[in-house]
Symmetry: C2
């Protein structure tokens, strides 16, 4: 089969790779119907994270089950499925607590930007998409594999509840999905911090009631203007840089919560200030499996359409261009079709 | 009047001080019925926090209202009252969100280990104790001024809920009250980490189902033995040292929460690990006023008896001995009667 390999900075190639096979009785092999490029893939593409040797890449997919191991239950060959960006058995004590991203038997994919994918922990990871969905739903189904569930996790971790005010820091695909999540969870004001007109437009479609293009002190002041001068109840941190984490911590009110889902690249946190102001911090790697059933139902009945974040679709063979377009911000997120 | 002044390390004196008076129309003057020494007072007593000049000390009390300013409502002269260790107007936007410890008009006491106390923000701070309570209830009423509400805040911040497993790090008065809070909030297992037999006994009276005397790796291993190998749902951090915060963060399961109420004396936190494991951190200075009504009712009808933490009672004139006894761990907490 063919799939994407990252060789180094700005160097992703569509190459022949070994066909995945069932290695464990808990594995499935899935034929990819749609996959995509993640903002987190760009860390290596941009040379910020090292690439020691050519490596398969990608961790999001919708596909059709080709083959299952002898112990796989719940999915059958021919099923159209979606799986999260980490695999989980969904039965261990950590999974039973709903934190499948820290499953005691978690295992990573060997590159999902490929024609076929080996899915470990298949029973606990894959969810069958009921009926045959309209093709128009495919982008939204694919978004469930990572960004929509990650944005949802930001909202849950930040404690978004009906009537609250939520600020979303970050206007990438995850940030936009976080706006949608905050709207769905009943936030009365959903404030998107975004400087890009195209992303602001999607944020508004997703339910943002206010857009703040300013950052730093000015951004904090704008948030306070909208929140009785005290900051927001819930702040959804969807970037992970020192600046964005700082923006998030300064935008939340005393007693409020920051839900962070952007992998943190920060030196430290203002712990004394957080303690004095009772600022909570929760979140991390999203437990996709915990949210999949609910969010799949919301996609199927049209309550959410997170697929709007895919502003470019390419054949999988043009994966290199898919990366370049995201790197240069010509698209929010690239969908790839084998 | 007479009250306690701290002059420096191991030097607290009972001295003549000016009688407090109404300075603002929102003030009240309270005649102290009972006051006490706080673990946080010991930072200065032990020379860890500096004492630049002789300073009035203490921030916990039950008393009788002597006089009120022209704008004070809700309490009247003659009322027996309890107030939290910070004052709050209970009307500003932050107070309305339930985080009265960060009130926009917060003001600190000028020493409550005294015969009389000036209470600023009296309407928003003082709560009248109904009827005339049995003298035996006095220690428990006094505990509402700080330690019981602070322990409660640890439990709320850690997300204690019915059926969960809670670990309490710290066996001082706050830690013991946190055990009681976890029990009241329905935790199924309440694990107290304590090495002192006298404190273990109080922890058991307060509802601890398990005692772990070990610390460090051994303590973490003991917690895991009791939690399917994954750690506790909720950890209540009631000390604030680097060691205790580390103990707390390592005792919580993936997706669990640490509620911290011990003023943090830490350099930093293991943010990468917290993110990967989705460990939440909430808490800070307790909003006493948010909990007072509920906890007062629980004291009055006998559901809780946090006064057990006062294992020594002295006349206020012997305040110096009250500090020494706590410093030397001869008592959990010292009550002082003017
Ligand atoms: Zn698991
Ligand atoms: Zn206030």
């Amino acid at each position: 089969m063919f799939g994407a390999m990252i060789h180094g900075e700005h160097d992703v190639r569509f190459e022949e790779r070994p066909d995945p096979v069932i290695e464990e009785p808990t594995d499935a092999v899935v034929r990819t119907v749609a996959t995509c490029v993640c903002g987190s893939d760009l860390w290596r593409y941009r040379g910020i994270a090292p690439v020691d040797s050519p490596t398969p890449i990608g961790h999001e997919y919708v596909g059709v089950v080709e083959e299952i191991g002898s112990q796989v239950t719940g999915v059958r060959p021919g099923d159209l499925v979606v799986g999260g960006f980490t695999t989980s058995d969904n039965t261990c004590p950590v999974c039973r607590k709903g934190m499948q991203s820290a499953c005691l038997h978690a295992a990573d994919y060997d590159g999902c930007q490929a024609q076929y994918i080996r899915v470990m922990n298949a029973s606990g990871t894959l969810v069958t998409i009921p009926d045959t969905p309209d093709t128009a739903l495919m982008p939204s189904l694919l978004a469930l594999s990572d960004v929509m569930c990650t944005g949802w996790h930001a909202a849950v971790s930040a404690g978004v509840e009906p009537g609250c005010t939520a600020v979303v820091v970050g206007d990438g695909a995850v940030g936009l999905c976080a706006v949608l999540a905050a709207q769905q969870l009943g936030a009365e004001k959903v404030i998107a911090m975004s400087r890009h007109a195209d992303r602001q437009a999607i944020a508004r479609q997703f339910g943002a009631t206010h857009i703040i293009p300013e950052r730093g002190d000015e951004g904090v002041a704008r948030v306070r203007d909208l929140t009785d001068g005290i900051g927001a109840d819930a702040v959804l941190e969807c970037v992970g840089t020192a600046d964005s984490v700082d923006q998030a911590l300064r935008s939340v009110r005393p007693g409020g919560q920051v839900g962070w889902v952007g992998v943190p690249h920060v030196e430290g946190l203002p712990l004394g200030r957080m303690f004095r102001r009772n600022i909570g911090l929760r979140g991390g790697i999203a437990p996709v499996r915990a949210y999949l059933d609910d969010l799949l139902a919301r996609v199927m009945d049209g309550r959410i359409d997170p697929g709007r974040v895919f502003t470019l679709t390419l054949p999988l063979s043009q994966v290199a261009e898919g990366y370049a377009a995201m790197d240069e911000r010509r698209t929010v997120k690239t969908m790839l079709i084998p």
